[in-house]
Symmetry: C2
Subunit: 470 residues, 2 copies
Amino acid sequence: MSASTSTIAALSTPPGRGALAVIRLSGDNAHEIFAAVVGEKEKFIKESARQIGIYTIVDDNGTEIIDEITAIKYNAPRSFTGENMVEIFCHGGAIIPRKILDRLFMSGAEAAGRGEFSRRALLNGKMDLLKAESIAGLIDCQTEKHLESAQLAYQGKQLKSLEKLKRKIINILSDIESRIEFAEDDDVAESESKLIIENKRELELIISELEEDLRRSDMVKSLDEGIIIALAGPPNAGKSSLFNEILGYDRSIVHDVPGTTRDAVSEKIVFEGITVKLFDCAGIRITADAVEQRGIERTLSAIKDAHIVFWVTSADTPLTDDERNGIIDAAAVDDKSSDTGRKKTLIIINKIDIVKSEEKKQFCADRSLEYIEISLREKINADALFAAIKSSTAQISEDMPPPEIIINDRHRRIIAAVASNLRDCVFHYGREELSAHYLKKTLDLLAEFLGHTAGDEVLNEIFEKFCIGK
Amino acid sequence: MSASTSTIAALSTPPGRGALAVIRLSGDNAHEIFAAVVGEKEKFIKESARQIGIYTIVDDNGTEIIDEITAIKYNAPRSFTGENMVEIFCHGGAIIPRKILDRLFMSGAEAAGRGEFSRRALLNGKMDLLKAESIAGLIDCQTEKHLESAQLAYQGKQLKSLEKLKRKIINILSDIESRIEFAEDDDVAESESKLIIENKRELELIISELEEDLRRSDMVKSLDEGIIIALAGPPNAGKSSLFNEILGYDRSIVHDVPGTTRDAVSEKIVFEGITVKLFDCAGIRITADAVEQRGIERTLSAIKDAHIVFWVTSADTPLTDDERNGIIDAAAVDDKSSDTGRKKTLIIINKIDIVKSEEKKQFCADRSLEYIEISLREKINADALFAAIKSSTAQISEDMPPPEIIINDRHRRIIAAVASNLRDCVFHYGREELSAHYLKKTLDLLAEFLGHTAGDEVLNEIFEKFCIGK
């Protein structure tokens, strides 16, 4: 692999209003092109690498100043890309970074493609594919959990895990292949049969670890999209008021006719740093009204998909059998959540300014259900409510360790395929040839993961998801 | 003035997805606070100033890595603010810059207020108020013209012009004051009376220069908001079709009933890099219909406010007296535009696929009015149309030099007051005491402009308009 010889330039900070912007310039002629656009050519040529200096970017006549900037020179191979580079720190905003880029383009630089700086770093051996992907993960992550996982990859722990996995597979494969070679030898020694059992156990362990990582990465993905809180409970118990209380503004109509909120309404908010998707469900009530019926279906599905259910009930109404069943269903840890143990249900007994409901408290206590008593109207215990929201969301986000090897969709796809191959291998474990086939396919997949077999097309696909200037 | 001793931190690049973000840290403890959040404390302490180095930001236990960054140390007073500073270049995106800022805040830094870095630079004598404002102008400018003007200020040319102006006023004032002092001396020497006339002429010249700058700054302001193109002309001539042709999509209803477009509709587009506000005017027609009448009023006002008028007429209708007058009015350089000479009118003779109108061509030629013949329906001469739009907008934007001393609303307000005082001074020129009064007020205003008399309140107001991280 040899470095591309063209020189690329791009804005590496987000567009928009800001005090500063950073422009990166990389390639064989990076220094010459930069020298061509500044008023202080000699100073730049003499400047030592990695030392910041002040320069003026001038127009093509060398007369008008476009901007006064600072810049750092990097000599190949001691740079991010491994090429000659200049990092330009200019004034931000809509006009100046564009004008400086125009000057660089006029002087021979080309517009960098998505992820092209990282791609050059990869081609020049400055980083491997996993590190390049981890940087994209660092930039794109929306949650701390995602960050932790990208950080593990950035620090090379993902690579270590993958190499360990690869070595294990190679060892098991070589055991199997030696058995194939000496197949005429019908006698299986005791030590040999012990090894077969051990290897199978090892494979099962690997599969369960990969499945755990897949689950964690699913969780990270859903955290990225937001923790789903469903507000459920009987009509007129205060779900919409609670929804509005949380949002802090009047989002859905609140009044006293039961069944007012016909449909699930949702809102995405950031609550104490965690993205939360709030669903205000229609009251669960059996009714002939088709519209309300549809709302109920949506409610049930929102409860099923939710990470947290707030069951809102009113202290001034008796506990019906319907509601008993509703709460029990909502609190039941379903199949999906049992994997991660993540579903939480909190019973919110509202309207305690009117009356206290010993019956509902007792019901919760009997079933060890978490509950709080509040009055939304009189703002009684509102603090406790917010504390409960905070602790439930924080708990969900903290409970689960980050995935160790999956930080993006490409990894998820490959690891799912690896796990599937290893399951096939275990399933056919007695049949050496077949087992070896699945292990070889696994090794191919791992090579793909590590980028060892990545052709231009695969790299194009990977870097296409990067941002410009990376 | 002494520097504030607290240490401030802020993101200096726009928030959002980007390869890099820049965080600035400034204040007495900037180096200590940075050292507290990185894994390489010793390395940072030993590192020489202005040299970029690689560090890792670690969590408060020093165990988990938040990001691998590069950073530059600056020693007071050789920094942007004149204080100890660190510039941190971290990975961009939603999470990492926030986490690093949180670490800095936890370690003793405070969140920087709007423009607080610039304000400290001002207090430490690293820049004057005008330079600080010019940086805000560089960042906030929306057009090249605005950039040129901010650049002039940034390079100190604005300051020079103001100081020259101030010296002239001081000279004239001292002449007047010496006359007041020797007022008993009734005899006015010939040289003295010559000086009086010269000074008055000088003042008039200054006033006209300031008025020119005010006009230029108005122009920059309106360029920032967009060049206004009004599409006027008789009903059913193709204004709405032209409007849609320019926008490239169906914005207003186009059909064959005259008077369809009842009201002026407008759209803001960026045409070849220049912001353009396009007004599709109702057909000018005298009618009893109140709604249409209101549309006509709006049309007349849109023509009056427009920088460019496209008068759309149809080749297949005769030239009525109403239209003759309409074109003559539109093309007439009105009082406002005569100041800047900026109004352009282009006659667009549409529907030449049906018939050619020698009468309308002749009318334009007789009055040296620019015209083009097109057919929007048959796309005849569409290129010429776009070339005409391009050249008219580019011409307007290039014709006018940028203002020399006014780059923001504060300057505009002060210079308007200066011009008004000087006009009063000229008006009362015979009366020495009054003239001196107006000149003193002028000097006060110039001191305010230069920031020499700016108290905390004024500075608050100025820096409040800056962005965070500046």
